[in-house]
């Protein structure tokens, strides 16, 4: 059994983890919960001996009575993979794009067990079968780019458990996946713990995931464990104020905006069709056509907040690009306030719609300062003489101080960046703002504050939102009406409350069932 005892970590004389003790029992799932920056990932990296340069760990990481922190790098190298495996958040970058999945899973076995390639591949095949990638559909010779995000995460899990380690560390293993895939991966992890008797150490910010999976939970705040115990117990009593705050944030629903919905449609999509030509499958074959959006019709009223929900690959992002006027349609029409939307629409028309994107780290040019970034949409309207005052005003609306204007974007946290992105969308006073997974990458507490902010802005400015997400629980808090999309079509639509409580279409049911829920206490 592996156990942390009084583990502390300092980076450049700053203490980031302080006196953490955590037993990781075999056959059990232990969750470590906290906000980003609370030190939970550092704790995991210390346990597996992969701390970044400049970080120092003290205390004990006990394995069979041996303190792993005392071991030299060579000895740790032999233990990693063999006794401890780890999977990471981002399945897109966790695999080597130039190696087949069979070789990647076999690599550790060949190194640690000294197996020959053929033997290691036999074992790799068996492990891939175990994680739900059967030989018939997933031969060993596939490359990572041929797999979806969820399938890649399964490969990463197969790599981590190839040598049946005592401990599997999973750092936000499902945060980058959509809800139905998340539910499948969590099921897989739970099954592995049950069947193979290993310990699973789950690191996450998502309390709902913890409540469904973990036997034990430890809540971490600023590098200290403030509360720990059996999951049901901790969740029921919520003894520490921080635990209560996390729960409150996760359940948070902004005050009803009393939105000024009504007064005719603002956005009207009629029978929209968007097709892509795929690469030729063979030299002289015809290029197949993928119909990503297949005859979608929808309305968004003035001041209305609408959710568009679907699994990844359902076509919702393609539809979003068309609504933003970035791509031309192959059929149907999109009208905004009566006028057509498309790549060639005039600037005044384009100025009616703005967007906020998912990844707060890719949403801004790293070389520009905040004032210039926020002022970019003025390109559509002409930059007014008092543009700096307008930027300051827009930043104030999202509760960012004016001193931010002369700074670069890398100086801000994810939540602050998302506020700045909202300020950029607001500055030219559009009538519709499209939010593409805009809060999915944020911690619960930050997400709750952003949702409050969005509700307030809608009330003040009479804005309409189109909220695109794979996660029904995010949409629940902030939309009046929700549309469910699958395979390029809208399969169900209705008031958010009704859709969530009485889903009719099988896809909607699957989404509702997959969304992890907090226990009602």
């Amino acid at each position: 059994m592996i156990a942390l005892k009084d583990l502390s970590i300092t980076i450049a004389s700053r203490q980031v983890v302080c006196g953490v003790s955590l037993p990781l029992e075999p056959g059990k799932v232990t969750a470590l919960v906290g906000e980003s920056g609370s030190g939970k990932s550092m704790t995991a990296l210390a346990a597996i001996g992969l701390l970044p340069e400049g970080a120092r760990a003290s205390g004990r990481v006990d394995l069979d009575g041996q303190n792993l922190l005392d071991l030299p790098e060579r000895a740790m190298d032999a233990l990693r993979g063999r006794r401890m495996g780890m999977i990471f958040q981002e399945p897109m970058t966790a695999l080597n794009p130039l190696m087949t999945i069979g070789d990647q899973v076999a690599e550790g076995l060949r190194r640690h067990r000294g197996l020959g390639r053929a033997q290691a591949l036999v074992r790799a095949r068996e492990r891939l079968d175990r994680v739900g990638l059967p030989a018939a559909r997933f031969p060993l010779g596939l490359y990572p780019h041929q797999l979806s995000g969820g399938q890649r995460q399964r490969v990463a899990i197969a790599m981590a458990i190839a040598d049946a380690p005592d401990l599997l560390i999973a750092d936000e293993p499902t945060t980058a996946l959509d809800v139905t895939t998340q539910a499948q991966i969590l099921d897989l992890l739970r099954g592995l713990v049950r069947d193979e008797g290993m310990a699973l150490w789950l690191i996450t910010h998502d309390l709902a995931v913890v409540s469904g999976v973990a036997d034990h939970v430890a809540v971490m705040q600023q590098g200290r464990i403030v509360e720990a115990g059996a999951t049901a117990q901790v969740f029921r009593t919520q003894a520490h104020p921080y635990t209560r705050a996390l729960f409150a944030a996760a359940r948070h629903v902004p005050a009803p905006s009393g939105g000024t919905a009504g007064g005719g449609p603002l956005l009207r999509v009629e029978g929209a069709v968007r097709e892509y030509r795929l690469p030729r499958p063979a030299l002289f074959a015809r290029r197949p056509v993928l119909r990503a959006v297949d005859g979608v019709s929808l309305d968004v009223g003035i001041g209305e907040s609408v959710g568009l929900v679907g699994e990844s690959g359902c076509g919702k992002s393609t539809l979003a690009r068309a609504i933003l006027g970035l791509d031309a349609l192959q059929g149907g029409a999109i009208r905004l306030d009566g006028a057509g939307v498309g790549p060639r629409m005039p600037k005044a028309q384009r100025a009616q719609v703005q967007a906020v994107f998912q990844d707060p780290f890719a949403s801004f040019d790293p070389r520009w300062r905040v004032d210039r970034l926020v002022a970019e949409p003025f390109h559509l309207t002409g930059r007014p003489a008092d543009w700096r005052d307008r930027v300051a005003e827009a930043l104030a609306e999202v509760e960012i101080g004016a001193e931010a204007m002369s700074r670069h974007i890398h100086e801000f946290s994810g939540g602050q960046r998302q506020r700045i992105a909202i300020a950029r969308a607001l500055i030219i006073r559009p009538r519709l703002i499209l939010l593409d997974e805009a809060v999915s990458a944020l911690d619960v507490q930050v997400r709750a504050r952003i949702l409050d902010l969005l509700a307030r802005l809608r009330r003040q400015h009479g804005l309409a939102w189109l909220f695109i997400s794979h996660d029904l629980s995010v949409v629940r808090a902030i939309t009046d009406r929700v549309l469910v999309m699958d395979a390029g079509r809208i399969v169900e639509e209705g008031p958010t409350g009704r859709i969530l409580s009485h889903p009719l279409h099988p896809v909607t049911r699957r989404l509702v069932a997959a969304a992890p829920i907090l226990p009602q206490l």
Binding site: L326, H408, E411
Partner: protein, 276 residues
Amino acid sequence: MIPGRHRMGLVAGAALGAIALAMALVSLVWTPFDVTGVDVANRLLPPGGAHPLGTDHLGRDLLSMVMIGARTSLSVALLAVGIGAAVGVPLGLAAAASRGGWLDEAIMRAGDLVFAFPALVTAILITAALGPSAANAMLAIGIFNIPVFARVTRAGALPLWTLDYIRAAEISGKGPARISAEHILPNVASLLIVQGTIQFALGILAEAGLSYVGLGAQPPTPSWGRMLADAQTMVTLAPHVAVVPGLAIVLTVLGLNLLGDGLRDALDPRLKARLT
């Protein structure tokens, strides 16, 4: 990452580059000796005394020769980089902006065509056709820099085009040309600076090569390559005559490479935050 090491590379590279540049500039107004005359009495003197780097087979002062040679080598290489960047970077930006379109294909295939010929051999062809001179050597080297800059620019720009901040710029009504100039170019500039210094260094080598075979700078203008060519018959007799221009080339090329790496790190605002 150890901050000090980057700073040291930057400082050492800048110093070597500055020395080469200073030699070239000073030679415009002053050299220790006149090199137009022949002084057979003092030929092949070893380094030391009145001639700190010795003299060549005609008794000319090697330090003065290296200083004047720096002028030729640096200006030819620098202008060749200028030609390559001025044409190649816009082509690369245009190719990236039309991702996979016919323009992209046309530009990249044209680049492949240039790459298909061995650079130095074609440069020899061009200078032989247009007449051997420093200006034609510069043009020949410059043409081969164009596809290099086009490729590096395109490779750096392609991943940027998928990022959300480009999407935000498109939503702000900006066209591909403006986005390329405002967002893409500044973000690939660090790559281009590194590539520019490498091409500068390669340009010095190429100029030396062309001058060595007599197709670059013409007598009596000294250049590092011609100095090497002149020295080769005397390598066993007076090795310093070859070592001096050889070292000048090696140190300048090394300095430019160090400078390129250092600049790349210093110009990145994210890295800068970490270094300070």
